[in-house]
Amino acid sequence: MVDPSRSSLIRARTTTGERLTERLLLACGLLSVLTTAAIVGVLLLETLEFFSEVSLAQFFGDTQWTPLFADKHFGIWPLVAGTLLTSAIAIAVALPFGLLAAVYLAEFARPGVRRVLKPTLELLAGVPTIVYGYFALVALTPLLQRLIPELAGFNALSPGLAMGIMIIPMISSLSEDAIHAVPRTLREAAYALGASRLQTIFRIVLPTAMSGIAASVVLAVSRAVGETMIVAIAAGQQPRLTADPRVPVETMTAYIVQVGLGDTPTGTLEYRTIFAVGAALFLMTFVINLASQRLARRFRGAYG
């Protein structure tokens, strides 16, 4: 039982200072919501203006993207292809390395090794993306050209690899947390049934931690799709509908940068293309995030 006089004392305190604090916190929370709403609003408004001049059929039906030139085409696919290609390369690098690093850190590494290795790995995420961009352009590409002579100076491969390195810590760190959260009892039960260490990890621990791992991968995919600086510097600026990682491509984000830096007058159709591309990008990451939630729910075990 709560003493009635004490409970009224608490209420009296809440009415003054704490209510103010509560409001302040609410305002902070609302700020992010409002910002998101404003961004979506502006994006939608300009995108609608864009689609009053360019039909959806052109946008999704054409295979060329040349809005700044004499022969204008508004097919979004070359930009989407560039984005998907670089992101796929990045994930192809980050997923195996990130996941195996997570398994090692969580299951095998001695505490001393782990103390050094984990922060070092996370340091990768702290490197400014412009550094990765120039790393891809002036170090990675010339190196790769020795192995693949027909690789162009601007290509999808090397920024994709750089991006992959960048998002390794995202996957490894979050996955490691998920693996760590799997209770000891499950492992012990597996050992008791005669499973080896590897069997325990790959048949018991990883499936149990799957929702956390999947979430980390989806987060990494979103990051790769939205990454701008690396691809703007090292992938080239040529919209091209291709799956060939050796030739110059342009991603959706790189296109937005290209127009943003030029002298394209505001309010023109050319200018509005960046909002249409931005909206498409937003839609893409939105769908990815939705998919991840579905995925996570499906895989959710008792401990994920």
Binding site: Q64, F69, A70, D71, L261
Partner: protein, 326 residues
């Protein structure tokens, strides 16, 4: 990058930081083309050493520079093509008269990767076939350009659509200003183009001659046949007008009203006197001496209006002849 540069004032001597733009009386405000910028910068540096005034330089491109000139925001503007009718109109509305002064020649260099062994020269016709709007999504391999060339993918690199160099190239090659295919790597930053062409065996690009001479070890320049046989761009062939149609005069446009101010007049006089020497130093081609004399006379007489343009890029114009006729 342009916008960032435009807000950045260069050549401001110590103690006058923050005093960018007009308003402060003894400052000469300059803006305009990135192609002309290296010349103006060199001239301004020398000018300020003499302590005769201060110069601020922005880089908003040829078009952006004209916009500012016609708003009365700057004393003079650099231009890599003559003024366009729409810009003439803009200045007229604001009652700003301008004095058109050619300061140098620039050749547009067509370059390929140094390992490209098959391109011996390119005719204007072949360049047109590569760059015209109809080439978009059609001319994709070197073998599409000339029979016998390898079946290698063709990767094109060129300046952005806001640049005077792009305007001039399309006018000279395709026949219509601002008309080209859209599926090439276009960048406002000429160094990106150099980087692209120098690391890509299937590449072909074009940009101002100064950027080629700076990177001559990483690129191979292609002779262009404008009808009189293949000609390599060089100081010589650009100056004597034989590198056609890809050599062009570049300009500064001075506001007539601003030219009344002592320091502006002093700066322009200094510009024209030192051009012959400084232009070569930064990698462009000086006008012949008689042409500089005509240009100086034009400024002394404060002759306004344009004899080169009024209609944008003009192909194959000799400065001396045009000035003498105008």
């Amino acid at each position: 990058m342009r916008r960032a540069l435009a807000t950045f004032c260069l050549g401001v001597s110590l103690g006058s930081l923050g005093a960018c733009g007009p308003g402060t009386t003894d400052i000469v405000a300059v803006d305009g083309s990135s192609t002309v910028y290296p010349i103006t910068e060199a001239v301004a540096e020398e000018f300020q050493k003499g302590g005769r005034g201060r110069v601020t330089i922005g880089v908003s491109g040829t078009g952006g520079g004209f916009k500012k000139l016609c708003k009365g925001e700057v004393a003079l503007s650099g231009a890599s093509r003559p003024i366009r009718p729409s810009e003439v109109e803009l200045c007229k509305e604001a009652r700003i008269d301008y004095i058109e002064l050619p300061v140098a020649y620039d050749g547009i260099a067509v370059v390929v990767h140094p390992d490209n062994a098959w391109v011996d020269h390119l005719s204007v016709e072949e360049l047109r076939r590569m760059w015209e709007p109809a080439a978009q999504d059609r001319i994709k391999r070197w073998s599409d350009v000339r029979e016998g060339w390898p079946d290698t993918e063709l990767h094109l690199f060129g300046p952005g659509v806001d640049s005077g160099t792009y305007d001039y190239f399309t006018k000279a090659i395709v026949g219509q200003e601002h008309s080209s295919r859209g599926d090439f790597t276009s960048s406002e930053d000429d160094n990106v183009l150099v980087q692209g062409v120098s690391t890509d065996r299937g590449a072909l690009g074009f940009f101002g001659f100064a950027y080629y001479s700076e990177n001559a070890d990483k690129l191979r320049v292609v002779p262009v046949d404008g009808g009189a046989g293949p000609i390599l761009p060089s100081l010589q062939t650009v100056a004597d007008g034989s590198y056609q149609p890809l050599s062009r005069p570049i300009f500064i446009y001075v506001s007539r009203k601003e030219a009344e101010r002592g320091e502006v007049a002093a700066f322009v006089d200094f510009y024209l006197d030192s051009s012959a020497e400084l232009v070569a130093e930064v990698g462009y081609v000086p006008l012949p001496d008689p042409a500089y004399a005509l240009v100086r006379r034009r400024f002394a007489a404060k002759t306004t209006g344009s004899v080169f343009g009024g209609e944008g890029s003009k192909v194959g114009a000799s400065v001396e002849q045009t000035l003498a006729n105008g």
